[in-house]
């Protein structure tokens, strides 16, 4: 299953938001990928997430498959909505 989300915090997905994403994703068994501008990366890899260079205003597609996939996507949607706890 997939979900499309927008990056709203000022600095985009830099190191700290990437840490939040990877830490959440690693708690789930489901396979997890993020797609942006034709690049598809393993969402449990901090290097991969950083490589997307997702800036403020950009849109990313989250793909999760397997055990807990829905919960994972819900949790991440909340994280995006909370702007990764930043401004």
């Amino acid at each position: 299953m997939t979900r499309e989300l927008q990056v709203e915090n000022e600095l985009g997905i830099h190191a700290r938001p990437a840490q939040h994403i990877v830490k959440i994703a690693s708690r789930y068994k489901a396979d997890f990928f993020i797609v942006k501008d034709g690049h598809r990366i393993n969402g449990k890899s901090i290097l991969g997430v950083l490589m997307l260079a997702a800036e403020q205003g950009s849109t990313v597609l989250l793909e999760a498959d397997g055990e807990g996939a829905t919960d994972l996507l819900d949790e991440l949607e909340q994280l995006f909505q909370d702007r990764f706890y930043e401004s």
Partner: protein, 593 residues
């Protein structure tokens, strides 16, 4: 014996003798080594062991940085720890070991270069900076693998003098002061952050030593004289004897300083000047009591997160300001709002590329353009102000309109807190830094709007004389006692007097013994300086007469030549205190004391 004398700029006092380590990064040698099927499990186990060792090393470094700089600065190591578990890095390396039958260090290097290749498409500098972290983690892992699971850790070398080309503020912050007893760098200046940092932690340092990395070899014995800006490589026995004697004189002097620690900084004829501390690291607070400083005259708030990855939130800032306020209570804590930009650019923020960063987007300009960030900081300071001793200061104010904008923001935040029912100190005093020549020229107008001035002589000097203090070609034109700078200080003091507010000085000039008579003579109420230098300056203040300082200052203000003024000040210092082993910032080379 091949004693070599190398001259530089002494930026942090003290004399140390020790072995040299070069801060040149060792080149990694990784060779591909195909493995037999039966060797694979052993190689994988070796790899896991190296990851475990690296994890311990990163945790150790992270704790050290947290202790010294606060938890926000340590955050980047969280990312390093995640990289150790990254499927694209260590995960991929495991694949290469087990499927391609290659050795662990080669497998890791291959995985690293795959990631680097993938990052090639990233155009944004901001994200590219993370490659530095990848290289750091990768290097740590490879070194662990090759050393059979030993991690280089934060430190496992004995006491030594470190020789480096230059250190970034965050590298300097990570210096292990237990093993680094002295520092020599090729680049840097009196006011560079490395210099300020070394002084704050009491590590003797000499900077601006050309070709230091070529002239000095790993393992050689050196005498580092931070007082005179000298490095003596492979000293002969007579030099060693001379320096042992000099260290004993310094030790005796140290006892004199210890005796007056709790005393006030009063001249012989009864004029008191406040000596307070410039603080830039949370860890420095614990040494403050020892320095005998009267409160904190300049709390450089930007250092809370200069090495960090993101801006600290309101709660984090609030806790840090409150901690500092409680540490010096009931003496005052002056928090200066963020002075970002110029050469201070934190990792988590984007700065435009500017041809002249020092004339560009920095300090109060950044704060006014980032109202959310500015208000968060003002809220944190105001909330901490209930401690009663907190004061607020804006940096780089250049005129009335700019100050008005800052004060308007402050009023808005106060109203906001009132609406929320959050307490703040109604008596909160607000001041500004005077460090831009335009502010000096309108100081009379600014003085009616604030409670105090603090003159930042480092920037005031470089802006008044149009000299970039970090540019070696013109650095000699940077003269802290230039007549134009002294006039600027005098104008500011006079404007403050007429408005009935106090005026201090918080630049490096405050810690220069030769400038002391002039600064007292000009009528400054407060001098704020590196805490380790407070005892020395206090001792001098207590042996001077204000009347003599005023007479001397009149004589100096009549001079038109900066060199003449410097010579007169040096002469006066020698006449008064010739026999004391004083530290002089950027002392003229070969100066005999």
């Amino acid at each position: 014996m091949r004693e070599i004398r190398i001259e530089g700029i002494g930026v942090s006092p003290g004399i140390v003798i020790g072995e040299v380590r070069l801060h040149a990064r060792r080149r990694l040698m990784v060779r591909p080594r195909p493995l037999q099927e039966e060797q694979i499990p052993g190689e994988l186990a070796r790899f896991e062991q190296a990851i475990e060792k690296s994890r311990k090393g990163i945790l150790k470094l992270s704790q050290m940085v947290r202790r010294r700089l606060g938890s926000d600065s340590a955050n980047i190591f969280e990312a390093h720890l995640l990289m150790l578990e990254d499927p694209m890095l260590t995960g991929r390396a495991r694949e290469i070991i087990s499927q391609d039958h290659m050795n662990a260090d080669f497998a890791l290097l291959s995985a690293m270069s795959e990631v680097q290749q993938a990052f090639r498409d990233v155009k944004d500098d901001f994200f590219l900076q993370r490659l530095v972290d990848l290289e750091d983690v990768g290097r740590r892992l490879i070194e662990s693998i090759q050393s059979g699971g030993e991690d280089r850790g934060g430190s496992h070398s004995g006491p030594h003098i470190l020789i480096a080309e230059d250190l970034s503020p965050s590298e300097a912050a990570c210096l292990d002061t237990k093993s680094v007893i002295g520092l020599v760098t090729e680049k840097g200046s009196q006011t560079s952050h490395t210099a300020i940092l070394c002084r704050s932690v009491g590590v003797p340092a000499v900077v601006g030593v050309p070709n230091a990395l070529e002239q000095i070899k790993e393992g050689e014995v050196c005498i580092l004289d931070g007082n005179q800006g000298l490095v003596l490589v492979d000293p002969d026995s007579s030099t060693m004897l001379e320096y042992s004697a000099r260290r004993r004189v310094i030790a005796g002097f140290q006892r004199d300083l210890d005796r007056i620690r709790g005393e006030r900084a009063c001249t012989l004829d009864g004029h008191e000047v406040e000596l307070s501390a410039n603080i830039e690291l949370p860890g420095e607070l614990q040494h403050l009591e020892l320095s005998g400083a009267n409160g904190i005259g300049l709390f450089r708030s930007e250092y809370l997160f200069l090495a960090a990855d993101t801006m600290p939130g309101e709660e984090t800032q609030f806790r840090e300001y409150r901690r500092a306020a409680r540490a010096v209570h009931p003496r005052r804590l002056i928090v200066r709002t963020f002075d970002l930009g110029g050469d201070k650019q934190p990792g988590g923020m984007k700065f435009p590329h500017e041809a002249n960063p020092f004339l560009g987007w920095r300090a109060i300009r950044v704060s006014l353009d980032r109202p959310a960030m500015f208000r968060t900081q003002l809220r944190a300071i105001l909330r901490a102000s209930v401690e009663g001793n907190v004061q607020l200061m804006f940096p780089m104010i250049s005129g009335v309109a700019e100050l008005r904008r800052a004060l308007t923001e402050l009023d808005k935040v106060k109203a906001e807190l009132d609406a929320e029912g959050v307490a703040w100190n109604r008596e909160l005093k607000t001041g500004i830094m005077i460090e831009v020549p335009s502010a000096v020229l309108v100081a009379d107008q600014l003085a009616t709007m604030v409670d105090f001035f603090s003159i930042g002589t480092n920037d005031l000097t470089q802006y008044t004389l149009a000299v970039d203090r970090n540019n070696h070609t013109v650095a000699h034109l940077y003269q802290g006692l230039h007549p134009a700078v002294l006039r600027g200080i005098r104008m500011t003091v006079e404007a403050a007097r007429r408005a009935g507010i106090w005026v201090g000085l918080c630049g490096e000039l405050a810690s220069d013994p030769a400038a002391l008579m002039v600064l007292l003579g000009l009528g400054l109420d407060e001098l704020s300086l590196s805490p380790v230098l407070v005892p020395e300056i206090k001792l001098l203040v207590r042996s001077l007469r204000m009347e003599d300082c005023r007479t001397f200052t009149q004589r100096v203000l009549a001079m038109s030549d900066a060199d003449e003024i410097h010579a007169a000040c040096d002469e006066a210092l020698r006449a008064q205190f010739g026999d004391l082993p004083l530290w002089r910032p950027g002392a003229p080379r070969g100066d005999n004391r």
